[in-house]
């Protein structure tokens, strides 16, 4: 059986450890906590942080200008009333999904390989949701009235319009943000206590101490922690499906050709997981390299993520196919025109680039050789990130720009402010991520310690 090199590779990958050899409790704790406590931030950290921070400043500048002048600084118009803001919103929300999927669903499914990447992925979720959450606010004409979207008893007895998918969005996204934050924070507690105990700096001691909320590691603590984690995982699991389903309703409930499709919920959820895993790969590959965490985020992890990427790419590809098929099969002239316009209209370049990025490129992941090459995985992940952004562009813009009455057709061109705010949120994301890397353990120490014990048991057994 194990004759050909490919098969050898397969065997190797399948049995590859999820924790490098030779680690004990102490070495795991040392290695991970040292990133926060001992080592001075390396040059690349400063460089990365500076880039993120500079972009964040651009974001603040652009947002200030946006609030002063209005959404007219963007390229949106009639008929394309939604542009970059909603594209970015959906993109960021989608990216967040991998974190929840890894931490909640894989936790419930007892997938141990998730341990070393879950903290990281959860942080990514949180920051992505933070970025995403900006956009529904900023895209409003009068963002200072955003609180009207929440159901609160006001003197005029006005409630949100519960029939509107945007109102559902408010609940979906805010619930998602809350649960993700809690889940992440609860997961951090034992590690925060570890940092508190190990910190030499008195200020750090106080801060970590405060955040650790009196964690002493007693059995009762562990018991409750475990219960809370499971409960939150249980809560978060349906969210993986619901959030993007509801985001897809924003489109599917509209009557715009290209939006009004029943396939949207599953197709959006798959797309979100797809985008999320691409982003986890994008981030974990450099981090693992620069922090020397190859022992914790092993080739097994990368291989698995590559497989998830491929699987979701196929689901998404099926979605694209069904979109085209149902447009054809509907015999509805507007639907048919919509799909032809996507393929051959003025934004055809976007569509075909999207197909290239999201459907064609991931096919390389069929090959183990590709999955075993870190560089190739990284490149594919980047392409998918781009492709998923383009997918949202195609859905939002090419559907709207030519809808029912030809007299109202128009072209949408983003402005520099659209880009400033988009790259600005990337800056926010990067900044938060680098602060996270610097000040919090980016791999769950206590869960890695649990893995050590399991590995030992395996070795003994």
């Amino acid at each position: 059986m194990a004759d050909s090199p490919a098969d050898k590779l397969a065997e190797k990958m399948a049995t590859a450890p999820i924790l490098g050899p030779g680690h004990d409790y102490a070495s795991v704790t040392d290695k991970i906590s040292a990133i926060v406590l001992k080592r001075r931030p390396p040059k690349w950290w400063w460089a990365g942080f500076a880039i993120g921070f500079a972009l964040l400043m651009i974001f603040l500048y652009a947002v200030t200008y946006l609030l002063l002048v209005g959404t007219g600084i963007w390229g949106i118009m009639i008929p394309v009333g939604w542009g970059f803001a909603i594209i970015n919103f959906v993109w960021w929300i989608g990216i967040g999904h991998a974190g929840t999927l890894i931490s909640a669903i894989l936790l419930l499914l007892r997938q141990q390989w998730r341990t070393s990447i879950n903290r990281f992925a959860e942080a990514m979720t949180l920051f992505a949701v933070a970025c995403a959450g900006m956009f529904p606010l900023l895209h409003m004409g009068r963002p200072w009235l955003a609180y009207w979207m929440f159901p609160y008893p006001d003197t005029m007895k006005m409630w949100p319009n519960f029939r509107s998918p945007l109102a559902w969005d408010v609940f979906a996204v805010s619930t998602y943000a809350t649960v993700s934050l809690l889940f992440w924070f609860v997961g951090l507690l034992p590690d925060l206590a570890t940092l508190r105990d190990r910190a030499k700096n008195p200020v750090a001691k106080v801060i970590y101490g405060f955040l650790a909320m009196g964690w002493r590691g007693s059995a009762v603590h562990w018991y409750r922690h475990e219960t809370a984690s499971l409960l939150l995982a249980g809560l978060a699991t349906p969210l993986v499906l619901s959030v993007h389903t509801i985001v897809s309703f924003d489109f599917a409930f509209g009557i715009v050709p290209g939006w009004h499709a029943t396939i949207f919920p599953p197709y959006f959820v798959a797309g979100a997981i797809y985008a999320g895993f691409a982003m986890v790969l994008t981030l974990s590959i450099p981090v693992r390299k620069v922090f020397g965490l190859e022992d914790f985020i092993t080739m097994r992890h990368l291989d698995n993520m590559g497989k998830v990427l491929l699987a979701t790419a196929l689901i998404v590809g099926y979605g694209y196919m069904m979109e085209a098929f149902s447009a054809y099969y509907s015999s509805d002239q507007y639907e048919r025109f919509m799909i032809l316009n996507r393929m051959f209209g003025p934004y055809a370049g976007m569509y075909w680039t999207l197909i290239l990025c999201n459907i064609v490129t991931p096919q390389f992941l069929w090959f183990r050789k590709v999955r075993s090459k870190v560089g190739a995985l990284f490149a594919i992940a980047m392409v998918v990130n781009l492709g998923m952004w383009l997918e949202r562009f195609v859905i939002v813009v090419t559907s709207l720009h030519r809808d029912f009455l030809p007299s109202s057709w128009g072209m949408y061109y983003p402005t520099r402010w659209d880009f400033a705010i988009f790259f600005g949120t990337i800056g926010l994301f990067v900044t938060l991520l680098f602060l996270f890397i610097r000040f919090l353990p980016l791999i769950s120490i206590y869960e890695m310690r649990a893995l050590v014990s399991e590995e030992e048991k395996k070795a003994e057994g």
Partner: protein
Amino acid sequence: MDIEKNHGGKTGGEMTAPHADAGEAGAPRFWRGLEELADTPEFRDHKENEFPHGANDPDAKLNRRELMKVMAASAAFAGLSGCTKLPTQKIVPYVRQPEEIIPGKPLFYATAVTLGGVATGVLVESHMARPTKVEGNPDHTASLGAADSFAQASVLGLYDPDRSRAEVHDGRLGSWAEFQNELSLALGGPSGASGLRLLTGTITSPSLGDQIRSLLSQISGAKWVQYESVTRDNVRQGSQLAFGEILSTVYRVEQADVILTLDSDFLTAGPGSLRYAREFARKRRVESADSKMNRLYAVESTPTSTGAMADHRLRLRASGIEGFARSLARELGLNTVAAPAAATQAPAEWIPALARDLKQHSGASLVVAGEQQPPVVHAIVHAINQALGNFDKTVYFTESIEQSPSNQWSSMGELAADIRSGSVTTLLVLGGNPAYDAPADLGFKDLLSKVPFSARLGQYEDETSALCHWHIPEAHELESWGDARAYDGTVSVIQPLIAPLYGGKSALELLGLLSGKAAKSPHDVVRDYWKAQKTDEPRFDVFWEKTLRDGVVAGTAFPAKQVSLKPGIGAEPPAAAPQGLEIVFRPDPTIYDGRFANNGWLQELPKPLTKLTWDAVAMLSPKTAARLGLKSEEAVELKYQGRTIVAPVWVMPGHADETVTAFLGYGRTRAGRVGTGTGFDAGWIRTYAAPWIGTGLEIRRTGDKWPLAATQTHNSMEGREPIRVATLDEYAKNPKFAQAEAQENPLSLYPDVKYEGNAWGMSIDLNSCTGCGACVTACQAENNIAVVGKTEVIIGREMHWIRVDRYFEGDADGPNTYHQPLMCVHCEDAPCELVCPVAATVHSPEGLNEMVYNRCVGTRYCSNNCPYKVRRFNFRLYSDWDTPSLFGMRNPNVSVRSRGVMEKCSYCVQRINAVKIEAEKQDRPLRDGEIVTACQQTCPSEAIVFGNINDPNSKVSLLKAKNRNYKLLEELNTRPRTTYLAKLRNPNPEIEKAAGA
């Protein structure tokens, strides 16, 4: 007069106690405010000179101390100028209205607005002495209740903050008193008054004409020159050729079954067009399958709205239309007309078939020649109309409505020669803007500065004012007394709605200076003139009040004149048809000759056929563009008669080949903040010899782009049939052609909402709509709609609540052109209402789709989900919240929207509620037709009808019951309350068959 007093606002700081004489014999019967009542010397000084010395002069150098003084003085005076004032003389509101002001309740006054001197009667809505909206006067023959965009936009012209506010003398601030002195000095100079020249626009005003004539009779050697850049000289000369005198031509379109236009846009431009459009539409109101309708043939070079309405449209070069007219005349048996120099470029069957059709409808046919066509075409057309027996049936002639009908361009040429020879010592330019619009080769700009004493009465300190010694601010038509004739001679007395906002003077006042009657107010001049005319009126006061109330002087329409054609019309053989690229000049559809350049509403009103805003273009046909390798929005150099100008190209389907149309009115250099620097000045290559049509144009590519702002960029219907069309025959065979896909009972999970009481709905007849765009401007005025500017229109953010979609069908050379007015259709199942997260757009119990601005947070989801794309979003702060002069213009019953809010057509909900409240007060049900939306009110062709669809006998219900009725995008099951009546064409089977073969 309590209101009056309140109206004066807070008193200025320096004013003393009211004058002891107030209310006694010497004091005016009406006063403008407490300040005038007080009539202190300080007040009079302020009144004379609202702005302290130097405050109006942008170049004046002020030191800080002086600046503070000026600012303090202005602040102190703000109490006076901040509020609006009724005019001092008695003005009379329109029929059956209380004469006193009730706060919150508008009054309507009948008056008139003029274009090229010709009046259209209007009713002006006035809120607390602020005119806010112009509507047509139903009692006026030229209006019948309709108004065009120019009239609608005149309120914005009134409140324009760029209007001049002070007398200017050689760049310094002057005063009226100083001007009086200087003028009398100039007239008393060595060459005396004989070097006096008056330069005016066309004048139809009897009182003004009378004043000028008496002035000219007093001053020997003085001359009066009338000049219009958009001249009707060809019409006048054509009349002279045909009848030996200048007569006015009046059409009775309602009597005509077959109409031929030769390069004429008589449905949307020129005197009487509003009435013609209405009569034309009435002949196309097909009630049932066996109804008749008129047939329109249009032969034209530049596509016009009239051409778009035509059942058969033939595109010919403008210079070739004379040949067409000659061929047709000969075909009709007028053999004295010389044959054309070259064969007419018409399909072989066209002229014989047309001639047969005209002949068959002798006495019920009509041929109309365009103003830009040479005199001989007009003369031949007169001959044709007579040969067809149309005289006194579909066309009649009256004495000229003008006070002094003359060949204006040649008298302008004489004026230029006189200035050059130095015989003009005093030039008074009353209105007009000759420095901008006089033919370029006349060199009028240079000549103007040669005149020893020149004064200009103008609403703006524009190109002409800059070259005159004196500039006197002119009162707006809504601010001054006057009178004017309509297309058929009917006189309207123009009564002011408001005392001049910026202290302007009218032409009557300025001429009063010359005739030594300065003390006489313009009101008295007009009144006395009519008193002298109406000596047979037993009680002149009653007559006068009735005249002011009705807006027309009863019985002043000219009677038809018996005319006889001169023999030998068109007998002299025509010159050889010119070769080479032709250039045609046209007044801009919305800016006219440039006088409306600073009017944002008109700048942003899409031109009916191109849907362009904010620009003039050099328009040419697809074929010619292809030959020259040109594309739309490309900047090219037009070289004509030694002058060049850079212009943007617009490729226009249906345009005649080898012809370029250049639109006048743009490229103003001193129009104001809105108009200055928009577009290119086609007048720069327009010559004295050939005002309208010329050959020898050269086009050179510059390689530059010239972005243009079109509100509609896609012209094809893409097979979707938003506009349903059939020929009359097809309609007779299949009367329900428009309802082919209609579902009787559309599927729904929910029970229908029952509307108790009223359910508002609208019907729009596409067979009537000419696409003129008056509804757009009316809506803009009624609903305080903002102007966004060219760059925003290019992005696609115009704010109009109603738009007129224009589609082309067929080949690019000779397409059918269709118009479709579209505003919020108020769906029963509105997609917008469902998706708004904050319930800012909701359904009213009467079925209105309402927009709650205060609740809107601006997600734009409603707009995305609107299949008709009629919602408009304030992407920026488009409404002007800063310019105080514009505040008075706004309709107080409609919120001025702020940034970040969605807006759209409300079916004029403020009008609905006003009428409902009134009916409730009188304890009676609403009457059908009582509620009139702004678009409906102004529509010349009565294409829009609004009413209660719960009432089966309402006009709108009856229209909706017609078999031409269809719902736009019915398949979406939105169930719109606005429905359309399908368009019908009535082609001549002979021509149609030949074209199809």
